[in-house]
């Protein structure tokens, strides 16, 4: 099913097979294509390129077209300071600097950078008809703060009428912006209102709810979907946010996902979030990203949940980290692997496997999640199972299902990172893909040949003639020498005549003959318990 359809399902609180994923690619799109934040946010062509690149790389179900909460503010006269790595910052506030509301008018579709957003939306709509396009607008409260500066917080108490007037204006701006973006082809209007995290629920209900609800009503009247984004410490307002009747709320790492889930589902609203932006996605590695994604996926569940970063992705977020999340989202098996490893990783004692695979037989290890529940694992195990009998007992195979602790240790010791994997005598041979029969046979045969060679090189044999002093053993000796000559073998012959020495071989008098095979098993290392066991089994 296509991303847009999937997102609609999640918004409708239908149980889904796979959780949907919406990476909030803002100026990160410019990072993908090599342009700075300013060039990116000022050009519809660059936006289209960046977002398309992100769609290709991260296989999302939905994406924002442009993530910039300063578009409206800029048109309304706020000064912007541009930066290469971030969206611009508002640095001056017209209503705090002499202007009045009467001086401001609702932005037209041709004003400022609105055409950039509209054009980019239209083009992306054509290019990616199946992906849910999020049209982001600045929430009324955040826009009011842009216009008034931090004075707004005092005025909430000292001049509530003035704040209400400004909120009314900002709401009209939000409604107009929603209209432009819906007309251009957005599926979802996301009202991004991070500054509401700064107020308490009563203030929220007084100054935000009556206004922002109208935006969601409007989107509903257009038969499109809406989402309410906040970031920061907004947990106190989640319930009030839901009461504004958006179709979805989206939050960042400052709010526990399980709390939002509980509140939102009770109010029959879908919810999304809240991968850690900086500490994990920006500064962590792929393992950190996977681990955090799993934590969110498990907490969010499969009903009404959309996996997303907490907010606008930092521009330099490593591509591999987001790809790792994307892979995980699209692959249930990978999720199980991460879960299994996550639980057990810490108390791991790594075996020294340097000598693994030195036993007589060739050992084929298949590392799986569990061949009973994971289809690729099952096929891989079957492939091995089918092939080994052809070697008539020379090859032994085992499955290591990492649901068991020992198997995790074994896997880590062999440095296996992917599931399923085939190792031949401890060396990784096939990763993830099930090998064709002939290839598998060839790989095993190669190892058998190698071993044979080693065996010949490492073996030493002796023949001991146990012969008490005074006894004539020349006949035996003669025969042995002749046999060696005729066979062309490299065997050393020793004569033991000391009675005590002879007794060690269980020989009382003699003459007797003992053959001895030596084999070099390890040199300069301390073989692990597992390995020694393998040797002992051969004896």
């Amino acid at each position: 099913m296509k991303g847009l359809e999937l997102i609609k399902k999640a918004f409708a609180l239908e149980e889904v097979e796979r959780v949907h994923w919406v990476p909030f690619v803002g100026v990160h799109g410019g990072f993908l294509t090599g342009v700075n934040a300013e060039s990116y946010l000022k050009s519809s062509d660059e936006l289209v390129k960046g977002v398309s690149e992100a769609i290709e790389a991260y296989r999302p179900d939905g994406v924002p077209v442009v993530f910039d909460l300063q578009i409206e503010a800029e048109i309304l006269g706020c000064g912007l300071q541009w930066a290469p790595h971030n969206p611009p910052a508002v640095v001056s506030h017209p209503l705090a600097q002499g202007k009045s509301l009467a001086d401001l008018s609702i932005p037209k579709i041709t004003d400022g950078r609105i055409p950039v957003a509209v054009e980019a939306t239209k083009t992306l709509r054509d290019l990616h008809p199946d992906i849910a396009l999020y049209g982001l607008i600045t929430g009324p409260f955040t826009l009011a703060l842009h216009l008034m500066g931090t004075d707004i917080f005092m005025k909430l108490f000292e001049a509530p009428d003035e704040v209400n007037e400004i909120m009314e204006f900002c709401t009209q701006v939000s409604l107009k912006m929603s209209e432009y973006l819906l007309d251009a082809g957005c599926d979802i209007i996301a009202v991004v209102d991070p500054m509401t995290s700064q107020i308490d629920p009563i203030t929220f209900e007084t100054f935000v709810t009556p206004y922002v609800s109208r935006v969601f009503d409007y989107v509903r009247s257009r038969k499109k979907l809406s989402s309410f984004f906040v970031c920061g410490h907004a947990q106190q307002n989640i319930e009030a946010m839901c009461d504004c009747k958006p179709d979805n709320v989206s939050i960042d790492e400052n709010i526990p996902l399980d709390y939002v889930k509980e509140v939102a589902l009770k109010k029959e609203i879908s919810f999304g979030g809240n991968m850690k932006l900086t500490v994990v996605l920006l500064m962590g590695d792929e393992d950190d990203s996977r681990e955090n994604a799993i934590e969110c996926l498990d907490m969010g569940g499969k009903k009404g949940f959309i996996l997303a970063p907490g907010c606008d992705l930092p521009r330099e977020t490593p591509v591999e980290n987001l790809k790792a999340v994307s892979e995980l989202v699209h692959d249930n098996y990978k999720q199980d692997v991460v879960r299994a490893l996550d639980k057990k990783e810490s108390s791991l004692e790594i075996f020294n496997m340097k000598d693994y695979g030195q036993a007589e037989k060739v050992i084929v290890d298949v590392i799986t999640l569990d061949s009973e529940s994971c289809a690729p694992c099952q096929y891989m195990v079957e492939a091995v199972k089918k092939v080994t009998p052809q070697f008539e007992g020379v090859v032994e195979w085992r499955e290591h299902a990492i649901k068991k602790m020992e198997a995790v240790t074994f896997m880590s010791s062999l440095m296996v990172k992917n599931i399923p994997t085939i190792c031949i005598d401890g060396k990784i041979a096939f990763v993830s893909q099930i090998p064709p029969k002939q290839e598998l046979i060839a790989a095993i045969q190669k190892r058998i040949n190698e071993k044979l060679k080693l065996k010949i090189q490492q073996k030493k044999s002796e023949i001991l003639i146990l012969c008490e002093e005074g006894t004539d053993c020349s006949g035996i000796n003669g025969n042995i020498q002749r046999a060696i000559t005729e066979l062309g073998k490299d065997v050393e012959v020793k004569t033991i005549s000391d009675k005590k020495e002879m007794a060690k071989y269980g020989v009382a008098s003699g003459p007797a003959v003992v053959t001895v095979n030596y084999k070099l098993k390890s040199e300069g290392t301390e073989p692990s318990l597992d390995v020694v066991k393998e040797w002992i089994k051969e004896l």
């Binding site: 910052a89 108490f157 932006l277």
Partner: protein, 299 residues
């Protein structure tokens, strides 16, 4: 190179942060190289200009870029701060965090990024304007997350406040029972250059011994732990740390405030608030990864 102590001074606009900073600069700029970071949200650095007027010697990093308000902007903050450190090599860094900044996220990022090799979180101050704090009860929302992670809360402008200070005191204690509360006028309070827990630990050593590198770190998570497991966890880790403090959500449904120095563990119930578990540690014996891992395993 010894790590540079990093101090956070947060608080409401107009609470007296800049006055406090000026005092610190006046007092120490002769003996230490001070680096100041300001992230006033708006309207572009009045305070920066104000500070420059004081004429003393210090380096200023102004972050006008929207503030250190949203986690999505912290990447840029790290970059700027790293450059600033390399360029000026300050011996002490103080950030004046606006009322909108999330001080926990700042601590978290400072302790997890490459910055953690250069600096450690030494102290976290929150300045409260006595008059405003009690006047506008509803504003508390905005300072509560700064208050709860503060080591020291300064109730400032007490000369303008006629009511009983005890009310504010007990209110703050409700949010953060372990904070040291000081009251002042014009922010006349002593400021310690390093961290007091470490300084106490090393007190009495005549010769300044080379100290091991100090790491500061923050765990922030939605996971809940049981009361019993939390105690076990703290018993194990407190003795390896100069200090552990923060708030933990318990499986039993309660929220507790925690404060441990290397030889004592204190746990107090607090009102259930709208915040995730947030624990900070200062130590020279373990890393964030180890600590995080151990905390995760409590479940």
């Amino acid at each position: 190179m010894q790590k540079i102590p990093f101090h956070i001074i947060s608080g409401f606009l107009g609470s007296g942060k800049t006055t406090f900073l000026k005092r610190i600069i006046d007092q120490y700029s002769g003996e230490k190289k001070i680096g100041i970071i300001q992230n006033e949200f708006a309207p572009s650095n009045i305070d920066g200009a104000e500070l420059k007027k004081s004429g003393e010697d210090f380096n200023l990093l102004e972050i006008n870029n929207g503030s250190v308000f949203c986690v999505c902007l912290l990447g840029d903050f790290i970059r700027s701060l790293e450059k600033f450190i390399d360029q000026f090599q300050p011996e002490i860094i103080i950030i004046e965090a606006s009322g909108l900044s999330d001080t926990t996220s700042i601590s978290e990022v400072v302790s997890a990024s490459s910055l953690s090799e250069k600096i450690y979180l030494a102290s976290n101050w929150c300045i409260v304007d006595a008059q405003n704090y009690s006047k506008v009860g509803l504003m508390k929302q905005r300072v509560s997350h700064q208050l709860r992670m503060a080591d020291i809360v300064v109730i400032n402008k007490t000369d303008l406040y006629s009511d009983n200070l005890e009310n504010i005191n007990s209110d703050i204690k409700k949010i953060n029972p372990f904070a040291e509360i000081k009251s002042s006028t014009y922010c006349e309070i002593d400021f310690e250059l390093g961290n007091s827990a470490i300084n106490k630990f090393y007190m009495g050593e005549v010769i300044a011994m080379p100290r091991p590198d100090v790491n500061s770190m923050v765990i922030k998570t939605s996971r809940k732990v049981s009361n019993e497991n939390l105690r076990k966890f703290l018993n194990e880790w407190a003795q390896k740390a100069y200090r552990i403090k923060g708030f933990v959500k318990l499986k039993e449904g309660k929220t507790v405030a925690v404060q441990c120095t290397f030889d004592s563990i204190n746990i107090l119930d607090v009102e259930n608030d709208f915040h995730p578990t947030e624990l900070a540690a200062l130590t020279d014996q373990f890393t964030l990864r180890e600590w995080n891992r151990a905390f995760k395993e409590l479940n």
